[in-house]
Structures are given as structure tokens and as C-alpha cells.
């Protein structure tokens, strides 16, 4: 069993994991951090190869959906009729199919609702409002009809957020079947109920933005590695999806603008001549152009209509479909050009209410195009004809094929009361963080159109495969937007952030099923993103990593990869054994903390007594000063006995212990005689070079093996950077000694000077050891900042004395019974 003094909780994990292995260390506590993963990964087969590519018989199902849906704005509900054509490409015969009913998560008796937990004896206004909404409005699907292709009723059973339809005839491999479902539901108010879609109500103008996601009965995925993927939707673990072609007719009030997955098919029926002219102009514009201007959108808000229009959208080879509709929408667009035969031009668009201005018209569509430029370089050309960003809420974001729902809005501008020019000031303003937050969230959500909307990983099972990979690419795209993009400044990079988390005891490995993850953000997003940064910048280098990562993206484009496919492809294409890396970062809860514990300096001895013994004498005299009493006796002129009686002197008085004796000479001569000629040459060369030899000890305190980047400074001040690969730990993952031979003496060594390994503690990274300042000490050192804060704290404490802090509390009173 593995020895790990730092983290007792890890011991348990390791013990369980190890006992399940065929290979076990049953004597001593050796842990092989470099043991190959092959026994732990799924066995390669005809569907997925040992090199991480789709196999010769790789298959996936296809589910094409046609939907006619009508929005009832007054009742905030939708009703639809849809048909699904399902192609069975699997080698299996299917007697029934499973359908996802994601809206059922909001039903009163859903697993998600029934398993919500209370927080002490507290009731918040939010909880209260949510409870009231659930008792006023019934949520979840009403299934009106399920029929086969000929209109005959099919038997079906609803199991929470899933529905099984029993087919009249089994579908064999290569066959298709079709069936129809009529349904309706009340749309949730997202701000009250909480979800990934719904509507937002703007009370001041009594207007709505509708954004529909997880809104239609959808074929559940059937896979080679897990059969039907019908784990219930509890709200967190996202989706496992099938690709298919969609044709969706959306009927909405005639004054609405609709944004949706896919391409609009009937522009002339739903847009004015002026809007069509502008849209055509935008199709060759290098900067965003308005199709609906802010002024037009504000004017449009004021009217209402009882008429309706039907917007028709088509989308090919997508794994989901989402849409948004409102009379509030401002609409802008520009073109993104790329090297791609299928989609040489992509129409980038943004839709947002006036409350999002002036921020959105400035940044949203540019951020959409920037994402495509960066992500395509790292993976493949953007694979669809449109890319859209829709403002649907204050913060947060969600992703769907070709369309994303994004947050961040400006705040009202508060003019100084004494400002005479207050009237000229803008109505709204935004902070740097809101601006960068908007750019960041759009990059993240548009990025999801690549991962997992195109590289179709299983989100419900492996959050990190889309969130981690995407957060990593988001980081790269943010670095390319502008320098010092807020998140990574102040020496507080993604690697330093994650190091704090990785020292925690109560973590789970990244390879944990989504709904069971503790600390979802660090585990599913930041830790895998940090791991890819380490892999790209430090372990593989950019050239090897970028090639291998692009290979992974291209192999699995429009297919369904599993973690093993990613691990294997990155090794296969880079030519570097990364099993230690996956084992440490993905299968364990270790962290990186290496200490530089000791440095010892030596010179190479020539063994020649005529050279070495005088040197030894010199060294001894430097190290051991003459006895003080002897010096003072000499100064006093005290006569020694051997001077008084010279006959007492002998050989030893004339020769100290460093004098060369015959025995020394004979020993040296024998040594030279016994040496092979090449050994003798090496010794003579070393005597000439007079190099310094160093033994440097490293201790791995965190457990995770890592490369060792070293900055070595010699006594003349020259610096040399050296990267020791992680394989130095292969025989002993806890302690290792590195030998260096240098022609100049070393003055200092710094481990990980560029902060690239996610080391959790830099206090033990220096020779000679260097007292580092803690983050709190650095803060306190900035006296200006500290004084300002102290003043503000005093002011607020004073003010608080008269403040009604419980203003927002829901007052409860105990029952006198």
C-alpha cells in the first residue's frame, strides 16, 4: 500500500483503488507513480482503438427531429407537435427507446425537487418565492399523445425525467423508425425557479425575453460503452446527446425577433425589407452591423400585437436545439471568414435587450468571432453556418449548438450630486470586470460549440471532458484578447489558484461521475484546465501538445469520445508516455509540492598527493582557525618545551599530517597503474577542469510527480534555466537526488521560478532558503491600501450601528404551542 503521511484520507482511497488492481505492491510501501494505465482503462475494441481513435466499426445513432411549436406569451407557455425519425446504427435490436423529458425536473414529484435539502432552520425570500411559484404554476411536460409513424398510439411510461416508448416493431440494426409526440408545458421564470432556460420578466416595461433550452422531448443517447444513457436529470450533470438534423417552426407574436440553432429559412416572411437589406450587408461586414438598432428595439417594446409569425429554422448534424424570442431584441451581425470548404463564412450574431447596452453592441459579436479564430486554430474550423450570443440573464451562461445564452449587463450610472454635467453622462456604465466577464463568458459558451457540441463527450458522466477542456481553451483565447486579462494577473495564475484547492483533504479525483463531484468548479473546470496548461507549457511543449490536441479534436469531431480516447490520443500523437500525468492529475487527489531540501558541493579529487594534500592543508586552515591560546602564547613570547630541548623534535615536528609520504606516493602510483587508460584520461581531465560537483536533494511532499524547472545562478551572477523531466521520480516518487557538474560555483537554485508546475508552497523552493512573504504579509506591506481599507471598515462599522441589517430577512415567529 502506498505511504502518504500528508493526506490520511488519500490513504483510504488509494487502498481501495489498489486492492481492486490486478497488480499490487504487497511488500514495502513502494508506489509506482509511472505504472502504465492500460489495466485501468477500458479494453480497446472494434469501436475504440488502443491509440485513442474511433475503431473500424465505430457507430452512433441518429435522431432527426421536426417540431412545430407555438409560444403563448400571455400565459408563458408553449405547445408543440413533433416527429422524431430514429436510425438504429448500433449492432443491437431495440424494442423500446428512451426519451429525455428535461422539463420534468421542475415537477412537484421529481427526484430533483424531492431531494432538495434544507439549510438549518432558515427560509430565504428566494426559497419562499420559489415555493409560491411551484404552488401557483404546474411545471413539467404534459404529454398529450405518443403515436407511431402511421398515427397509432404507442405505449409509453414516464420515469421522472425519462420516458420509455415501447415500439410496435423492434428496430434492427440499419433500420429506421419514426414516431410523433404532442406536448405542452408552462415555462419557468428563470430568476425565481432557477434553470438553464425559461423567461425573464422586465417589470418596469412589462416585457419578456424567452429563452428555451431543454425544451422538447429528445432521444436519449444509446452508446457502445454504456447502452442507454438514461441517468435522471438532477439539474447539475448535463447531457449525453445524439446528433441529428432539425427542422423547427417557431410561432411567436408578430413583433418578436427569434434567434435559434441553425439557419433561418424564411427571411422574407418574418423580416422587413430593411432588415433583410441590413442582414445581407452584415454577411460581408468585417465589423458588427445592426439588423435591429437599439432605437428600433426600444420603439418595438412599446407596442404589442395579437398577430403571430412563424420562423422556420433548419440545422444539420446538431446534438441539440435552443431558441430565444423577444420584442426587446437589438440584433447585430458580422461575418467570420475561415479556411474551410464547407463553411468558408460563418455569420456571427448577437441579440440583446436595451438593458444590456452599451456593453453588448461593443463586445458581444467581436467576442464570438474571436472565439472562433482561436478555437479553430487549436481544433478544427468552426463546423456550422451561424454562431450566436443572446443576453438572457444578468450573469452566467449556457451553450447549445450555434447559440449561447450569456449574462453580464451594465449598471445604472450614478452621477456625482454636485456634477453640473450630470445630464450628459451615460445612463449606464460598466466596470472592467463586467466587460471582461462578458468577454470571458461568451468565449466560454461559444467555445462549448466545439466541446462538447461537436466533440460530443458525455457531459452527464464526465464534466471535465467539456468544461475542463473548454476552460483551458477559454484561458488561451483570453490571453489572446488583451494582455493582463484580469483573471491571470498579479502572479495569481490558474495554477496558483488550483494549488490551494489541490491541498484540500476532501476532494475527489477528476475522474468522478458528475453528480458526485464535491467542489464542482475547481474539480470540473479549473483543475483539468490547469492540468492542460502544465501539459502544454511544461511537460510536452507547445509543438507536441498542439499537434496532439488537434489530433484528438479532429478524430472525435461529430463523434463521442470517452476519457480513455483523450488520454490515449494525446500519448499516441505526442509520442510521450503520459500515464504518470493522467494517473496523478486525473485518478488521484495528490497535489504538487516539491521541496528543495539540501544542496551539497564537492570538487573532484586528482588523488595526486602532491596536489591534494597541500589543498587539504589550505582547506583545513580555512575551516579550523588556530587555537586562540596558542596564538596568544606566541604573542607573549612563551618558549615551547621542544624549543628549549630541541632533541625532543622528530619527523613529526617537521612534517604535519598533510606532508606527502612515500606511502602516499606508492598508493597514487598504484591507483594510476590500476586505472584503465580511459579512466586515467577522465581523472586527468577532471584535475585540469577543476569542476564543482553538486548533489541536490528534492522531496516530493505533495505526492504528484512533476518536472523540475530549475533556475541556477552562479557566483558571477550568470543564470541558467534547466528543465528536469518528471521521469526523475520513476524509481522513488518521494525522494530524489540530482547530480550536477558545473565549472562555476553555484550561488543559488530556485525550483519552479516561472510558476509553471502548480506547486502549492514556494517557501521550500529555494537554496539557500529564502524567507518568502505570505499573501497576507504582502497585503499588509502595502500601507496605502491597508489604511484606506481600515478607514472604510471604521466608517461602515459606525454606520452599521444605526442600520437595519435584518431588512431583507423573512421574519419568522415561533409557534406559542
Amino acid at each position: 500500500m502506498r505511504f502518504h503521511p500528508l493526506l490520511p484520507a488519500v490513504l483510504l482511497l488509494a487502498a481501495t483503488a489498489v486492492s481492486a488492481d490486478a497488480i499490487r505492491q504487497t511488500k514495502m510501501d513502494h508506489y509506482d507513480a509511472f505504472r502504465q494505465l492500460e489495466v485501468d482503462l477500458p479494453t480497446p475494441n472494434v469501436y475504440r482503438t488502443a491509440s485513442g481513435a474511433p475503431g473500424v466499426q465505430y457507430w452512433q445513432q441518429q435522431a432527426d427531429h421536426k417540431i412545430q411549436v407555438t409560444l403563448n406569451e400571455g400565459e408563458q407557455s408553449i405547445r408543440a407537435s413533433q416527429t422524431i425519425e430514429y436510425s438504429n446504427n448500433s449492432p443491437d435490436t431495440l424494442r423500446y427507446v428512451w426519451i429525455q423529458l428535461d422539463q420534468n425536473r421542475f415537477r412537484d414529484e421529481s427526484i430533483a425537487r424531492l431531494t432538495e435539502r434544507a439549510d438549518e432552520d432558515q427560509l430565504s425570500y428566494a426559497d419562499l418565492a420559489r415555493h409560491q411559484r411551484f404552488s401557483d404554476v404546474e411545471h413539467g411536460f404534459t404529454i398529450e399523445r405518443v403515436v407511431d409513424g402511421r398515427g397509432r398510439d404507442l405505449r409509453y411510461v414516464v420515469v421522472d425525467t425519462m420516458m420509455r416508448i415501447d415500439l410496435a416493431q423492434p428496430i434492427r440494426t440499419g433500420q429506421k423508425t419514426s414516431f410523433g409526440i404532442d406536448w405542452s408545458f408552462n415555462i419557468i421564470e428563470e430568476a425565481i425557479v432557477g434553470g438553464r432556460g425559461g423567461y425573464e420578466h422586465f417589470a418596469e416595461s412589462d416585457t419578456y425575453v424567452f429563452f428555451l433550452a431543454q425544451w422538447f422531448p429528445k432521444l436519449a443517447a444509446y452508446t457502445d460503452y454504456g447502452g442507454w444513457k438514461h441517468q435522471q436529470f438532477l439539474g447539475r450533470g448535463e447531457f449525453t446527446q445524439e446528433f441529428g438534423d432539425y427542422e423547427v417552426e417557431i410561432t411567436v407574436p408578430a413583433d418578436h425577433i427569434v434567434a435559434a440553432t441553425g439557419e433561418l429559412q424564411n427571411e422574407s416572411a418574418v423580416l422587413t425589407a430593411e432588415q433583410r437589406r441590413r442582414l445581407n450587408a452584415a454577411r460581408s461586414a468585417d465589423k458588427p452591423m445592426f439588423i435591429v438598432t437599439p432605437e428600433e428595439a426600444i420603439a418595438n417594446e412599446k407596442d404589442g400585437t395579437t398577430e403571430t409569425r412563424t420562423w422556420v429554422f433548419k440545422a444539420d448534424n446538431v446534438r441539440d436545439f435552443a431558441w430565444a424570442s423577444s420584442r426587446k431584441f437589438i440584433w447585430d451581425a458580422m461575418i467570420h471568414r475561415q479556411e474551410d470548404a464547407e463553411h468558408p463564412e460563418v455569420l456571427a450574431m448577437s441579440f440583446y435587450p436595451q438593458e444590456a447596452e452599451p456593453l453588448w453592441s461593443q463586445y458581444s459579436t467581436h467576442a464570438v468571432v474571436h472565439t472562433m479564430e482561436v478555437y479553430s486554430r487549436f481544433s478544427f474550423p468552426y463546423p456550422y453556418p451561424t454562431a450566436q450570443s443572446v443576453n438572457t440573464w444578468k450573469s452566467g451562461g449556457m451553450e447549445y449548438p450555434m447559440i449561447t445564452f450569456n449574462g453580464r449587463r451594465p449598471e445604472p450610472f450614478e452621477a456625482d450630486e454636485e456634477d453640473e454635467n450630470a445630464a450628459d453622462k451615460p445612463e449606464r456604465t460598466y466596470s472592467r470586470r463586467t466587460k471582461q466577464g462578458l468577454i470571458g463568458v461568451i468565449i466560454h459558451e461559444i467555445g462549448h460549440i466545439y466541446f462538447p457540441m461537436t466533440v460530443n463527450s458525455d457531459e452527464r458522466q464526465w464534466t471535465w471532458m467539456d468544461e475542463g477542456v473548454n476552460s483551458f481553451l477559454q484561458y488561451l483565447a483570453e490571453l489572446e484578447w488583451e494582455e493582463n486579462f484580469h483573471r491571470y494577473r498579479d502572479h495569481y495564475s490558474v495554477l496558483e489558484q488550483i494549488a490551494e484547492y489541490m491541498t484540500s483533504q476532501n476532494q475527489v479525483p477528476i475522474m468522478t461521475q458528475s453528480d458526485s463531484i464535491m467542489q464542482f468548479g475547481p474539480n470540473g473546470y479549473t483543475k483539468p484546465a490547469a492540468s492542460f496548461v502544465v501539459l502544454r507549457e511544461t511537460v510536452l511543449g507547445r509543438e507536441l501538445f498542439d499537434f496532439a490536441f488537434r489530433e484528438y479534436a479532429q478524430r472525435w469531431k461529430f463523434k463521442r469520445p470517452t476519457p480513455a480516447d483523450l488520454f490515449r490520443t494525446l500519448e499516441d500523437a505526442s509520442g510521450v508516455d503520459l500515464d504518470w500525468f493522467w494517473r496523478g492529475w486525473y485518478y488521484s487527489t495528490d497535489h504538487v509540492d516539491v521541496a528543495l531540501t539540501s544542496v551539497r558541493e564537492f570538487r573532484i579529487s586528482s588523488e595526486d598527493p602532491h596536489i591534494e594534500l597541500p589543498l587539504n592543508r589550505e582547506q583545513r586552515n580555512e575551516q579550523v582557525p588556530e587555537t586562540l591560546g596558542q596564538i596568544r602564547n606566541r604573542e607573549e613570547g612563551r618558549t615551547l618545551r621542544v624549543d628549549k630541548f630541541p632533541e625532543l623534535k622528530d619527523f613529526y615536528n617537521d612534517n604535519d599530517e598533510f606532508a606527502v609520504s612515500n606511502a602516499d606516493r606508492n598508493k597514487y602510483s598504484k591507483l594510476l597503474d590500476d586505472l584503465e587508460p580511459w579512466e586515467r584520461a577522465a581523472l586527468e581531465r577532471a584535475a585540469r577542469d577543476d569542476d564543482f560537483v553538486y548533489f541536490i536533494d528534492f522531496e516530493n511532499l505533495g505526492g504528484l510527480v512533476t518536472p523540475l524547472p530549475l533556475l541556477i545562478t552562479d557566483t558571477d551572477g550568470n543564470e541558467e534555466f534547466m528543465m528536469i523531466p518528471a521521469e526523475i521520480w520513476r524509481l522513488d516518487y518521494r525522494n530524489v537526488t540530482k547530480m550536477l557538474i558545473r565549472d562555476k560555483a553555484i550561488a543559488s537554485i530556485e525550483l519552479d521560478p516561472r510558476r509553471e508546475t502548480a506547486d502549492a508552497d514556494f517557501a521550500n523552493n529555494h537554496f539557500p532558503s529564502k524567507p518568502g512573504q505570505s499573501r497576507l504579509e504582502l497585503y499588509k506591506g502595502d500601507t496605502d491600501v491597508r489604511d484606506q481599507m481600515a478607514d472604510m471598515l471604521r466608517t461602515l462599522r459606525k454606520r452599521k450601528g444605526g442600520d437595519d441589517a435584518t431588512e431583507n430577512a423573512v421574519p419568522l415567529q415561533s409557534d406559542p404551542q
Binding site: S124, A126, D127, I192, R433, N506, Y525, Q788, M789, L793
Partner: protein, 181 residues
């Protein structure tokens, strides 16, 4: 006199806890950047060179802002401003307590001094300190943001010098204890 709500607490409870402020933006906040769940990480560590126990709370900006807005009922309050960070620091001071547990019962809370707060990327860091050393055993209560986000999970990493002990606060958790020696 608090206004009586149209429901009653269960009679088996001796008293009802005072309810607390809440964010109506709960759903949105809980899924900031594609559904990141709210969580905080606090570290307690003795600094041998200054003989000070350093307490650092790392909070996501967006979680912090939603809590601030509700607690102060001021939509313009942001952690971008000095006042916003100071208000957040005062909130943390109320919600995070460390007490002596060396006599195996929760003693009076230790006098953690509020040092300040600063932004660091997506996070705001709030600093507290305690002069001297920690008792041999401590009890910790971490209610940060749990009044607003029911799904909030707070981690407290306590460094003993030799190892890191982690306490997790969620659901019904109140006081948790750990021995340091």
C-alpha cells in the same frame, strides 16, 4: 416586533432561528459561468516568521456580489469598490468563527482581527489574523454565503505545519472541530 408569517414552526423545536437575507437571483447566481456551484475556500495557517495566525478566505466575485447586493439592499454595490470589499469583509467577520476547543467544548470565539480584502482575478480575498498561536484544538463555524445559497459548500483548510486538515461545511453543519497537536 417581527411580522408574523402565515405559517408556523414545528412545535418540536424549542425556538425558530431568525431567518436571513436571501438573493432572489438565486438561480442565476448558482450557475455563474455555466453552472459553477457556489463554494468558498478558507485557509488557516500559522506564520512562524511573524508569529501570526493568518486566515485567508477565497470567494468567487460573483457569489460575493450577489450576497452583498442582498445583504445591503444596494444593487450598485460591487467588490470592485473599496466600500463593497469592506462590506464583504464585515460580512465574513460575522459568518466565520474560530473558537477554543482544547477543553472539548466550544469556548468563546477567538478574537480574529479583520485585516482587509483585495481582488485577485475572479476572486476576492478577505484577510483575518490572530496574534499568537492557535489552541491545541479548535472549533470552526463557517456560515459564509450559506444564508443565501442553499447549495453552498465551504472548505476550511487548517495547516498544522505537518499536514493540512480540511473541514467541510454544507447542509446542516454548524460547529466542526479539529485537534492541531
Amino acid at each position: 416586533m417581527p411580522q408574523k408569517m402565515p405559517f408556523r414552526c414545528s412545535p418540536i423545536r424549542s425556538r425558530c432561528a431568525l431567518a436571513v437575507a436571501a438573493a432572489m437571483v438565486l438561480g442565476t447566481a448558482a450557475m455563474a459561468v455555466a453552472h459553477r456551484l457556489p463554494g468558498s475556500l478558507s485557509t488557516i495557517k500559522s506564520n512562524a516568521s511573524t508569529d501570526v495566525v493568518e486566515v485567508i478566505h477565497r470567494l468567487h466575485n460573483h457569489d460575493a456580489e450577489d450576497v452583498l447586493i442582498e445583504a445591503r439592499n444596494d444593487r450598485t454595490l460591487s467588490v470592485d469598490s473599496l466600500e463593497g470589499r469592506a462590506a464583504l469583509a464585515l460580512y465574513i467577520e460575522e459568518k466565520f468563527l474560530v473558537a477554543d476547543f482544547s477543553a472539548s467544548k466550544v469556548g468563546a470565539p477567538l478574537d480574529l482581527q479583520l485585516v482587509g480584502a483585495e481582488l485577485s482575478g475572479d476572486y476576492v480575498l478577505v484577510y483575518q489574523q490572530l496574534t499568537g498561536k492557535l489552541p491545541a484544538a479548535i472549533a470552526v463555524r463557517d456560515d459564509i454565503f450559506r444564508d443565501v445559497f442553499p447549495a453552498q459548500v465551504n472548505y476550511v483548510n487548517i495547516s498544522t505545519g505537518k499536514e493540512v486538515r480540511t473541514l467541510v461545511f454544507q447542509g446542516q453543519d454548524v460547529w466542526q472541530t479539529t485537534e492541531l497537536e
